[in-house]
Amino acid sequence: MTALLELQDVEARYGPVHVLHGISLAVEEGSVVAVLGPNGAGKTTTLRAVSGTVRRAGRIRFAGRPLDRLGPAAVARLGVAHVPEGRGTFSELTVWENLRLGAYTRRGSIQPELERVFTYFPWLSDRRRQQAGTLSGGEQQMLALARAFVLRPRLLLLDEPSLGLAPVLVAELFRIVRELNEKEGLTVLLVEQNAHLALQAAVAGYVLEAGRVVLSGSSDELRADDSVRRSYLGY
């Protein structure tokens, strides 16, 4: 069985600055895969390489199709939802408009999608007319997730969802991600500083350092690894 998402020797750069030096990884359909690594390792850039928001080279295949020549809009149209670092909600628009944008690539009525999303995020339904910018940080992160989910993506790219959130909210967020994964079979590529949480949610993980994969394995293997334990789990 081939993976839903497969990266082979992917390089990426910002202008002259090379950031990724040959990343290879695979994400099986229906799984949650974590990407760990210190700040500046290139985790965000890896997700951006997939969604086409950074200049990249190398092979990126999604559901058997090459992505490496596609721009972000085209990648989104194939069913890849990217919740960027810092959420990327449209704070000037209403909650409803944000959700509508999430399903931008879908044709026809999005009512069923919305209903489905509201079962996971019931409070959003009452706030649909509210300006997204007036939501709290945690609510905005939930909205970002909800917006990604209206697309009914085959693959969700999730970048540091726990950043700046209170622990209760983080737990709630991860509960929803796990639920989406279990109930809907959503495939997730998760970037997360909190290795503990990440490895709990994921079946497998990759550790990035300075733009290279230095370690990979199942979550259990990673948890058992000494260097991971020391650097990321803190015991």
């Binding site: 000037e92 628009l93 931008y104 300006q131």
Partner: protein, 332 residues
């Protein structure tokens, strides 16, 4: 960045200045009403000013759409409007009725504006704002030259879209022309508002203008949206040109040059990124120009453009974000 976000929000919620602005506007409207009740001349000037101001406002709206989409001031907006008016003239010469030509011209303008953005603006946009502005300046001269070349600089006349009927309301005579201009502009503006507010395309255009990177992530074709924004602006410009023409009674290549300056003043007055502000600014400029020229002896009709210039300077010095605009964050 934090200031950017908060001031944006303030702008949307209304901010502290908003009640004051509405108060001033209500006071102005009341003043106009009182004046109009007391003097028929005043009333006539006000009505005419509103009609002309609507034209300035819709051109200002075009400028604002372009500015919001691409952060560029399109200096060719007026000349583009003038050129599309000539296209309507030509279509009428070829036998179309006025309103057939009107609709056809709007469609042509939409395509023209979109194509111009894709071919001439997009390639330089990433380089610098100055480069894009210089291209629009080049377009200004180019369009002017082409129109003069094809149609010549002499006066052309087009059939009147609204006839010459004059309504008498109380002691005030109101030309049907002015009512028609006003209505056409308001309806166009409303349609654009509906497009932006209630359609998926409009939502995509707003998202693309507000946050291009995030919009692309959800699958909005940002480049395309911005180009269509230019197209829509050209369409609104065509409305402005077609409504300006009957108010001047003749068509000539300089039709839109003074109007562009008034539209600049209107857009700055309303706040360069506020569509509603542009329209209200246009009305304010139209009415005040008319009244000032009549009632302030020092300002004769030659000084209309300098007056608009003074408005621009005054607004920028006193309230750079205009009546309804968001504060541009530029802490230096």
């Amino acid at each position: 960045m934090v200031t950017a976000a908060t001031s944006r929000l303030e702008g949307l919620r209304g901010g502290a200045g908003f009640p004051l602005v509405s108060l001033v506007l209500v006071a102005c409207a009341a003043g106009l009403l009182v004046g109009s009740l007391r003097s028929a001349t005043f009333a006539q000037l006000t009505v005419q000013g509103l009609a002309l101001g609507a034209v300035y406002g819709i051109l200002a709206l075009a400028l604002v759409l372009v500015y919001r989409a691409t952060r560029v001031i399109n200096f060719a907006q007026g000349e583009l409007a003038m050129a599309t008016t000539y296209i309507a003239y030509q279509l009428i010469q070829w036998g179309l009725s006025y309103w057939e030509a009107f609709v056809a011209t709007l469609a042509i303008a939409l395509v023209l504006g979109t194509v111009l953005e894709l071919t001439l603006i997009r390639p330089v946009l990433h380089r610098s704002g100055i480069a894009a502005v210089i291209v629009t300046v080049g377009l200004f001269v180019l369009i002017d030259g082409i129109v003069n070349w094809i149609w010549g600089g002499d006066f052309k006349s087009m059939p009147s879209p609204f006839g010459t009927k004059i309504y008498h309301v109380g002691g005030v005579s109101i030309a049907r022309l002015y009512v028609g201009m006003f209505v056409v502009v308001v309806v166009s503006a409303l349609l654009v508002w509906v497009l932006f507010r209630f359609t998926k395309l409009g939502l995509g255009m707003r998202a693309a203008a507000l946050r291009p990177a995030e919009a692309a992530l959800v699958g909005v074709r940002v480049d395309w949206m911005l180009a269509v924004g230019w197209g829509l602006a050209a369409l609104l410009g065509a409305v402005a040109g077609l409504m300006a023409e009957p108010s001047q009674f003749f068509l000539q290549p300089t039709l839109m040059q003074p109007i562009l300056v008034y539209a600049f003043a209107a857009a700055v007055l309303g706040g360069l990124d506020s569509p509603a502000g542009a329209l209200i600014g246009g009305l304010a400029i139209g009415v005040s120009l008319n009244l000032v020229v009549q009632y302030v002896p020092a300002i004769s009709s030659e000084l209309q453009e300098p007056f608009a210039f003074a408005v621009i300077i005054a607004v920028l010095l006193l309230k750079p974000s205009g009546l309804f605009g968001h504060q541009e964050v530029r802490r230096v």
